[in-house]
Amino acid sequence: MNALETLMLLSKMLGVLTGLSVVVLSLTWLERKFLGRMQMRMGPTRTGPYGLLQPVADAIKLMAKEDLLSSWVDRVAYWVAPLAVFVPTFMIWVTIPIARDLVIQNMDMGLFYIIAFSVLSIVGLVMAGWASSNKYAVLGGFRAAAQLISYEIPLILAVLGVVMLAQSMNLQEVVSKQGTVIYAAIQPLGLVLFFIAGLAELGRTPFDIHPAESEVVGGPFVEYSGAHWAVFFLAEYINTFAIASLTVLLFLGGWLFPGLPGDVSALGVLVFLVKTYMVILVIFWVRGTYPRLRIDQLMSLGWKVLVPLAFVNVIITAVYMFYGWPDWSLTIMSTAILVVVGWGFSRRMRTAPTPEYTVKLYVPAPEASNAG
């Protein structure tokens, strides 16, 4: 690789980093504004028109803040942890295409690479929790490990369904296979699984168990402040954007839109961004609606519902492919399973009636029997 190529690659990486930072800024503003409106508030209004400069103000505040350090902290792990979380989230973007030819390095094993790297950030969270020498941080770190590892499985299996349909792990290929029918229409079950497991991977409501403010006061991030906390924050929002864009690429046809030419880069980017932001709005919408799950609810949802469903999803996809049935047959199977499971789930979740119980009063034995 000569100097020019290296320079090109570096400038591309820098471009992606800058772009992601801008996206994160926009997401923080969007989230606060959107959640505010859902609670019939205004959201930020004081900083610039419509509070648009709020993320800038936040960034300045975070940078200017004192970086406190507890004296019992394990320093090496403590300083490495933010990077261990941030670097994998950034590395994913090397192979996520935002238009047909807008990608740093297209890979045939792109999805494999993305999954392999996204698992790595768990290490960072556990590290942060352990190094902080704080009981809440340790609890949060372990919760993060338990949650993220459990939900990797349905996530990966949901991706597997798409990979089977597309016969490729190359994201560009996956998108170009969706030229006629998007995979969300063929595999609605896969989309729901991917979305729910993705929410859990992000640690967003209703799965925000590891940074739960009311239980473990911010989880692994308790001890962090200022710029180091900002790095975690940045990673979280980049992850949100990554899961949303993966949903778009795998299930919603990426940069393709019926009636628009898919090979025009600028148009492709626009379509891709619009779709991704729609998915992100759904994520914020979910955040504005649901309360947090308990940890046992989270585990039972993951292992008893999502993992079996993900296997079922893979199996019906395999059956459909083996017999070469038409697309709509998989759609029907997938939707039927979704409806049946949803119905069963809603019956289970319905609040159980309070069990009847009798209060037994203590009645002292009559003293007369003693006298005889």
């Binding site: 859902m38 019939m40 508030r41 919408w285 504005g288 609606t289 119905w343």
Partner: protein, 179 residues
């Protein structure tokens, strides 16, 4: 599952509702007519002097002892312009201590003190809320201007001239008479 979807619909419907926020320093909530703000002193426009004679009834009844008043001979009475023999010389209310109970208003024999609509009186120093006579009168004039306040006697006299529900009552009376 169905309940989950219902929940999503609820938040979506609130999203399309108008925010209930008042942008406070720029935009004030409307004050009700009977809002009880801080007590202020009233100004008699007929004679151009305060109603207050400095009799100290309010001072004695004040549960937090936030007022002081000093009385003097009324110079306008000596000139024959006023019926008040005594008039207030100085009056101070520590609005930081006032609890807005309106006992001073109830006990006042001259309708001289009233609960105004003043409520945004935050100050930087602890004793900046000590309010003297000119300031109290200024606030009172503003309140009179705003609410069209009249002393009790005048208000009663006006009410007797044109009773509000009179037409209805007469109708009822006639109906009773007919039956």
């Amino acid at each position: 599952m169905l309940g989950n979807l219902k929940g999503l619909m609820v938040t979506l419907s609130t999203f399309f509702r108008h925010p209930v926020t008042y942008q406070y320093p720029d935009e004030h909530k409307p004050i009700e007519d009977r809002y009880m703000g801080f007590p202020v002193l009233m100004w008699d426009k007929n004679v151009e002097e305060p109603y207050c004679t400095g009799c100290m009834v309010c001072v004695r009844y004040c549960p937090t002892q936030c007022m002081t008043a000093v009385m003097k001979d009324n110079p306008l009475h000596a000139d024959g312009k006023s019926t008040r023999r005594k008039i207030v010389d100085s009056f101070e209310i520590n609005l930081g201590r006032c609890i807005l109970c309106a006992i001073c208003v109830d006990v006042c024999n001259f309708d001289a003190i009233e609960m105004s609509h003043e409520h945004e009186l935050s100050k930087y120093a602890r004793n900046d809320n000590r309010t003297n006579l000119p300031k109290l009168l200024e606030m009172g004039k503003a309140y009179q201007q705003e609410s069209g306040w009249k002393p009790e006697k005048e208000a009663k006299a006006e009410a007797d001239v044109k009773p509000v529900g009179s037409s209805v009552e007469t109708k009822e009376e006639t109906a009773e008479a007919e039956s």
